[in-house]
Amino acid sequence: AQSVTQLDSHVSVSEGTPVLLRCNYSSSYSPSLFWYVQHPNKGLQLLLKYTSAATLVKGINGFEAEFKKSETSFHLTKPSAHMSDAAEYFCVVRGAGKLTFGQGTILTVHP
């Protein structure tokens, strides 16, 4: 069995400040982990993925995530938020050929 918990349903930041979206996972397998972004009325876009290579994963648009097995975490970060980052973000774990989605974190970016 596998599960994902996104610790914040909403995160609000000012433009130019760091972003931290928190994710904890549970998996019976050696997990593959992903972050997807969904802009309003748009489809899901893959931001980055961890698949047992480097624990620090770089994605698109300046996002990064670090896999910490001891903490069962896969938090998403960005050094400087941009207005275009405002969207909903989903942390996802893959196991047994299936994806399990977290509940999502809505990121708001203020000017």
Partner: protein, 116 residues
């Protein structure tokens, strides 16, 4: 990556009717999936559709309500049968690509269904 299209993009249907959603992929893929995203919620897997075999449904979803076809490696349909307002959701298909035991899933744009 994979480019996925869905038809229709949105529809408004009356309760008791059925709607078939089409999913087309620009390359041949083994694994296709159907998800539901209810208003304000995350994605929930409905079923996995592999070409040449019966779809595998997740707990809480049944074939009579959500029949799926997978006639070839680039196409699938999901039917939402005997609809009720609770079926109002976004329905998404996705495909999984595998490269060197590295998995990535790509999603279609979704079909926004409103049942009145």
């Amino acid at each position: 990556s994979a480019v996925i299209s869905q038809k229709p993009s949105r529809d408004i249907c009356q309760r008791g009717t059925s709607l078939t959603i089409q999913c087309q992929v620009d390359s041949q893929v083994t694994m296709m999936f159907w998800y539901r995203q209810q208003p304000g919620q995350s994605l929930t897997l409905i079923a996995t559709a592999n070409q040449g075999s019966e779809a595998t449904y997740e707990s809480g979803f049944v074939i009579d309500k959500f029949p799926i076809s997978r006639p070839n490696l680039t196409f699938s349909t999901l039917t939402v049968s005997n609809m009720s307002p609770e079926d109002s959701s976004i329905y998404l298909c996705s495909v999984e690509l595998v490269r060197d035991r590295d998995y990535e899933q790509y999603f279609g744009p979704g079909t926004r269904l409103t049942v009145t």
